[in-house]
């Protein structure tokens, strides 16, 4: 059989994957640099099935996702930083009501209205909270157009397995760039959702989707249940990629676009005789603390490369737990460093 190979923008690949993954509905609002997603879906869904609806705001979008997910549909939304901020209230409700769905943030530069250029400034928001209350999202960080497609499938699989929202944290560059992408994903089976509101059927317990548990004793129990689930996720779902770490003395830790840039930096460093390696966390939650801690037993130094002022570096420090020095190099506001620029700063850090 001829393989389905296409040259696509990351945003388009994600949208195409969503249709192939069998989404029942997409609710969203245009914002650069992710508008290709609603554009693609509004073009394709009328003939290929599913609901496409451009909402009046991101606030409305996320609440439509809540309603549709609560009614048992496979549903997603996408946005970029300022728009994703607007959704945070709804994300908190969705996490508490334990509704499986896929959220996408194509990260642009902030804070505020910021810039439309790529950034990783939303790492804290994605991994440490975002909305109010004690909740976590499974956070997937694609670093290629292929992964923009793959992680839609993975995202829905995990969301439905754990009954939890999954966030794909991409960025403007991965969303806008074109690469070869192969569509050969196994179809996602529809999962049973007995908890969904579909009308109180005879003999079936009625379904109530809510995040309101007014008595503190009940609310505490809900929180404990949620945290049991997060512990289970942390045990089973950590994903990362390692490049040249077997003998690495100096390791760069980077995700998404930064990992692609740092990969080349590591190649350049190796060419100069530096024993460099790369760790690329694929899940930002759960974070690969254990493996990074293990690598710190052999390596001499670690540096994160992030398109922010130093956010993931805090998690690396937690993982390393003081065993070796941990540094950070980043550019801000939508500026992307070249592999050479990263190398220069990596070497500086090594010599410090």
């Amino acid at each position: 059989m001829e393989q389905d190979i296409r040259l696509m923008k990351g945003n388009e690949a994600m949208a195409e994957a969503a249709i192939q993954a069998g989404i029942d509905a997409y609710f969203g609002y245009p914002i650069t640099p992710q508008s290709e997603v609603p554009e693609y879906l509004s073009r394709e869904m009328p003939s290929r099935g599913g609901v496409f609806l451009q909402a009046e705001s991101e606030v409305a979008s996320i609440n439509m996702v809540y309603g549709a997910a609560g009614a048992g549909a496979r549903v997603m939304t996408s946005s970029s930083s300022p728009g994703y901020s607007l959704m945070q209230e709804g994300v908190s409700y969705i996490a508490c009501a334990q509704l499986p769905c896929l959220l996408v943030n194509v990260n642009r530069g902030g804070p505020g209205l910021g810039t439309i250029q790529p950034s990783q400034g939303d790492y804290f928001q994605a991994t440490k909270g975002g909305g109010h209350g004690d909740y976590r999202l499974i956070v997937l960080a694609p670093s290629s157009v292929q992964e923009m497609a793959d992680f839609v499938f993975l995202g829905f699989e995990l969301a439905e397995k754990y009954r939890t929202p999954v966030l794909m944290l991409s960025d403007g560059a991965i969303g806008q760039m074109m690469e070869k992408v192969v569509f050969n994903h196994k179809p996602l089976p529809k999962t049973e959702k007995p908890w969904a509101t579909t009308g109180k059927k005879e003999g079936k317990h009625r379904s109530i989707i809510t995040s309101l548990f007014i008595q503190p004793e009940v609310m505490e129990k809900v929180n404990i249940e949620l945290n049991k689930k997060y512990a289970e996720i942390s045990k089973n779902e950590v994903r990362l990629e390692e490049i040249h770490t077997e003998d690495a003395e100096y390791i760069i830790v980077a995700y998404g676009l930064s990992a692609r840039i740092s990969h080349k930096t590591v190649e350049l460093a190796r060419a100069k005789g530096i024993k460099a390696g790369l760790v690329r966390p694929i899940t930002l939650y759960p974070y690969p603390y254990d493996r990074i801690g293990e690598l710190a037993n052999k390596a001499k130094k670690m540096m994160t490369m992030e398109l922010n002022a130093g956010q993931m570096v805090e998690d690396v420090r937690l993982a390393v737990n003081g065993k070796i020095p941990v540094g950070h190099y980043g550019r801000l506001g939508g500026i992307i460093p070249s592999p050479e620029e990263v190398l220069e700063n990596f070497e500086k850090f090594i010599k410090e």
Binding site: I5, L7, T32, P33, I116, A173, Q176, M177, M178, E179, K180, L257, R260, I261, S262, H263, K264, T265, E267, I336, P337, S338, P339, E340, E341
Partner: protein, 183 residues
Amino acid sequence: MTEEIIIAGFGGQGVLSMGQTLGYASMVEGKSVTWMPSYGPEMRGGTANCITILSDEEISSPIISVFDTGIILNQPSMDKFGPKVKKGGLIVYESTTILHASDRKDIEIYAIPAAEAANQMKNTKIANMILLGAYLERKPVVGIDSIIEALKKVLPERYHHLLELNRNALLKGQELIRSVSKN
């Protein structure tokens, strides 16, 4: 083989679509490709560029700061990217509008009057294809047939009558670069 290209000019000159066409063509030939646009809020008239990387291997960074080849369509881009071409690299530029080319002696530089040639062919929109043809004559990283194959995929059916014009533009570019000497 890995070829790292910057294509730069004004928005509307077909800069981004040149890179995409090259990308498709190299995919047709089974290569890896990464196409990274530099985008701004404006739809037309601003500066535009794209980094296009073609390779027989997996491509690591889609962001690079030095290039094997620059295909340059306006003066600001010549000033900006002229110094960023690797030693021994190549610049192919649109010489109807760019008056001051890079004066580097360590790279090959070809002046192609593509806009003028496009005018003579009665379609100003194909200047980019003329430049692409010129580039591919000097560095045949993909075949002309693959470019046409790619255009068939990129262009909606209703534009397929333009494929012949595009082929002629590519051939024109090849012819032009053979007749000009590098400075």
